[in-house]
Structures are given as structure tokens and as C-alpha cells.
Point group: C2
Chain length 115, copies 2
Amino acid sequence: MLESHEHLDKMFHALADRSRRAMLDRLTRGPATVSELAEPFDCTLAAIVQHVKVLEAGGLVRTEKIGRSRTCRLDTAGVARAERWLQERRQLWSDRFDRLGEILERTPDTPGGRE
Amino acid sequence: MLESHEHLDKMFHALADRSRRAMLDRLTRGPATVSELAEPFDCTLAAIVQHVKVLEAGGLVRTEKIGRSRTCRLDTAGVARAERWLQERRQLWSDRFDRLGEILERTPDTPGGRE
DNA sequence: GCAATACTGAAGCAATCGCTTGACTGTCCG
DNA sequence: CGGACAGTCAAGCGATTGCTTCAGTATTGC
């Protein structure tokens, strides 16, 4: 169940763009065609198609061509994967504190009060 | 409590690079100086410094200059912020299913079995 | 059948990225 | 003091992004 670095690259890269995040937001309200997804944006359909491909490559969206239009829907498994990666790192850090005891936990800032 | 788009851009951009993710992994095992962080990598220190700056701009790492070396540590609040953003989206999608009923929940894949 | 619709693919272009080199600043050790 | 160490800054360079235009292709509706 190890994540390939390439996949994580693509997933986080897909998330690192406000237009693509807005598309994900839109897709939380239900599936949409590429044209519907394009509506709020002030750019060409070709650009939107490219964004959709990036989201799909990142495993965050799944698409299906029906007739002449392509329907996009959120891939919750993909979103959960990104979430899990982050959670694991945060957990590892917390575990470290547990092992070292509470002393460090009580000094998250520099004790000297510099700056 | 709203995330600025700019901040999310920087945060996910910081995560979208395997070298930077490897640095985060290293930092889950405890704070490290820039040089220590650079050790496993086959590139110049200047490149590592730039990566650290990207991680810091993304709110994932905090650094502190002590003497002539800079100590880096994981910013769990930043990581949690990224996590929360993803979780919110996934939750919205789930809520949608709840409202529509279980019918859709039982057909997450394309029923036609195309491809 | 024929036009409108909904993409799709390729080429091109400015901006950004990840990296390098090289010159520099500040700190520590003998 | 002087040299090694740990970073810092700036310029530059090839690759990748996000976008455009334009020329297709495949459906759909009249």
C-alpha cells in the first residue's frame, strides 16, 4: 500500500492550483461535465480540459465520457490518500513527543523569548 | 478561519516535490539543521536552502537561526491545515450522498464496465 | 444531412521551477 | 587573528506550467 512518489507528486501538484481546487469544490456539490466545470472561469475550454487531466492524473477526480460530453466526479479515495499521507507525518511527529515525554511538549516556542 | 488561496497554493506546492516531502519525513524524526537536512541529497546546499524556504512559505516547517546554523522543525499546525482542507472536501461529498440516499453510494464505479 | 455542441490534440509562448555557480556574510575553533 | 564552517544572495539556465490559438473529431438536434 506504499504510495509511489510519482503519484504523490501529481496529487499534490494538482492541489497546488486555486483553479483546480475550485473545481474540486464544485465537484463536492455533485458530478459535472467539463463545460459546467468551465463556467465560472474566464478562460478557454482547452485550459479547463488540461486542468481536469491534471486532477485525474493526481487521482483526485475520475471522468467518464458519455456521448459528446465528459462527466467528472470527485475521487474520494484519492483525496483520502492525500489526507492519510499528511496525517501519518503529523502522527509520527506526535509519537516522537510521546517518547520524549511532556517536557518538550510544554516548550513549543523558544524558551529564551528571543526575537 | 478561511484559508487564503495563496497560502493553500504555497502549502500544496511545497508538498508537490519528493525532495521536500523527504525533508518533511526527516523532520518527523526530530528537528534538523539545513546541513543535516541536505545530507541524504546529492545537490548543493543552496538548493536545499531554497527547498526549506518553500516549505517555510507553505507553513509546513518553522526555522530558527541559532549561531551559524539554521534549525528546522515540522510545523504540525500547517500540516493539520492541509489535512483539514482535504477532509472538508471529502466530508462535503459524503454529506451529499447522505442527502441523496444510499442508492448512489452503492455504485461508486461505472456500472457499464467500460474500458 | 448539416450546423451546433462538446470536447480533443498540437503548437507556441511567457512565467515559474529546481537547480547550478560564484561571490559574500556571519560564527566558531585553535 | 585566521581559516574552516554554515548558510545567504543573486544571476543564469534548461525544463515544466498554465495558458492561448487553431484545426480537428465525435455527438446531438433539427
